[in-house]
Symmetry: C2
Subunit: 345 residues, 2 copies
């Protein structure tokens, strides 16, 4: 064991308090936890001495006994606008409920997701809040933990194979709102920048996209569907290709604002007009899209609320005597219409 390293002046322990008052450790302990078997005078003197010595109970020792650390582990793919807001929501709820938050970023890498899970479990977090990385294929690690009844709450990017508590957006509704709006604006050839194919959000939004096209009797043209990483540069190049192809789209729906921003750059580069030639709708409603020229329409959701809700569900499980049945909370998105998609007055 590494015993090296600098160690600051040791803080007072319950033992120091007891010694200073010439009473037993047990009595101090009882006095502090308001147990009945303590003389009021004794209790008062203990409290005074605690004040004087600046005694604070050692959480590590308590953790050793209770096997609880009051710590929540968070695994997210990155810290972009969406996840930053989600983390803020998690931190917010954690503060309210007396937990602290350990954050690990997987950088969209499955390998790193594995490492981070190990890291957090070793640190003995009481539970986990997870959003999958984009190249996350295997869920075995979480399956194993869940089978041992270790509490995990998933959010946003979830796994369909896992029967676990999760908080997600109604992605089908979001995509439906977006595509319906585009069709109402007269668009007929609507492309979809779909993002990573194995992510739940991509798939769900795809369903909304396709269903809406079908509903309005429009053909589904697979050449208008482009999968990719969440990479603006890639979206830029894909959009150039779409524009230069024989069947140029008259609208583009993006699974995320990051991609739709790349698309906008490409359209401007080619000198086409937005929304007259190509209309745009993104997803997430990041602040940036309202600042662009023209401002881009986007499906808004509250990452903050999602994070708060995920933390709330986890803490409920942690505070519960027994195992709670897994549930899925679905939040509602709202389409924010801006100049990038409004053709009709």
């Amino acid at each position: 064991m590494n015993r090296s390293g600098y160690r600051p002046d040791k803080p007072a322990t319950i033992k120091d308090v007891a010694k200073a008052l010439n009473i037993s450790i047990s009595t101090v302990s009882r006095a502090l936890r308001n147990k009945p078997d303590v003389n009021q005078e004794t209790r008062q003197s203990v409290l005074r001495m605690v004040e004087e010595l600046e005694y604070q109970p050692n959480q590590i020792a308590l953790s050793l006994i209770t096997q609880k650390t009051h710590t929540i582990g968070v695994i997210i793919p990155n810290l972009d606008y969406f996840f930053s807001m989600a983390v803020r929501g998690i931190d917010d709820m954690a503060l309210e409920t007396g937990y602290t938050v350990m954050i690990c970023q997987s950088n969209e890498s499955y390998a790193r997701e594995l490492v981070n899970t190990q890291r957090l479990m070793k640190g003995h977090v009481d539970g986990l809040i997870v959003s999958n990385s984009s190249d996350s294929i295997n869920t075995e690690q979480y399956q194993r933990l869940l089978s041992k009844n270790f509490p995990i709450v998933f959010f946003d990017r979830v796994s369909s194979e896992l029967d676990a508590t999760s908080v997600v957006l109604d992605n089908i509704s979001g995509a439906t709102q977006a595509v319906t709006h585009l069709i109402e604006q007269g668009c007929r050839r609507i492309a979809y920048l779909a993002g990573p194919a194995n992510l739940s959000i991509s798939q769900q939004r795809m369903i909304g996209y396709k269903h809406t096209l079908e509903k309005y009797g429009l053909a589904i043209d697979e050449s208008l569907i482009v999968f990719s990483e969440f990479d603006r540069e890639f979206a830029y190049r894909s959009t150039l290709a779409l524009i230069d192809s024989p069947n140029r789209p008259d609208a583009i729906f993006g699974v995320s604002d990051r991609l739709i921003v790349g698309a906008q750059l490409a359209i401007k580069e080619r000198g086409l007009r937005i929304p007259e030639d190509i209309a745009l709708v993104g997803f997430n409603d990041e602040p940036v899209v309202s600042l662009l020229t023209p401002p881009i329409s986007s499906v808004a959701q509250s990452a903050f609320e999602m994070g708060r809700m995920a933390a709330k569900l986890l803490v409920e499980q942690l505070n519960s005597e027994h195992i709670l049945p897994s549930q899925t909370i679905m939040l509602k998105p709202t389409l924010i219409k801006r100049a990038s998609s409004i053709r009709k007055p």
Copy 2:
């Protein structure tokens, strides 16, 4: 003590391993830590049993002995682009050096900063990485910890009164580059959106701003200096006021991109040209500014590197036998020139 709440199946302990092999706990412990006093066969059987029982050493028990948790506490004002990147750098270095990171956001509130410090100290973090909130006036809490030789590294927003290890940007250089550039482009009445008055970054950039004006023989007009929170809306209104004032500026330098974006909105609103009527330079080089019309010049810095460096210094302190002298690392910024400030070909 709260003993309620659900607890998953207990993992194997060293005792279980010992019992399964009918040997003593001590021997298992020695075998696992590659001590010499162990028979090779015994060691092998221990390793096999460890594998079988999926034994993992209990970090909490180790922490109780060593008083170390291998955890770093991070206190930041928010999770905007800059701090997200910094956190990524911290997390990166932490992963390399075997630490995990606890993050608390103060939401620019001093009160919450206090609470978060308590929270992290209670969780027994080994050290702290801190960037002050904008209404952080008192540094007594950190002073107290530092006087007890508790390791803290400050970054970006530091306190001049604290003699502590810190990582900062050469803010004077950044502001000097920005203002010099504006003057070279022919600007003579340069306003400064200064941000919160008590923040080190505001003050340092102010020094660079004023010195550069003096160097070029330009008068310092206090009516062109505006303090505020990091609030886009406020910057928007301030800029409108500047524009409508009798001595309208011909350039605006902003302590952060968030403020300069608000300024841009105001200038567009009034129908003035950028950079011909008013040139703009921001700070941080957030991705958004390169996407705006026109793209905004900005002083670029690497928040990622800053975070990594802060974590590196902290870990060095944590791994050191003795107390290291406090030091200040100063990183160099680079001005990125874009259309918002380029008047001459």
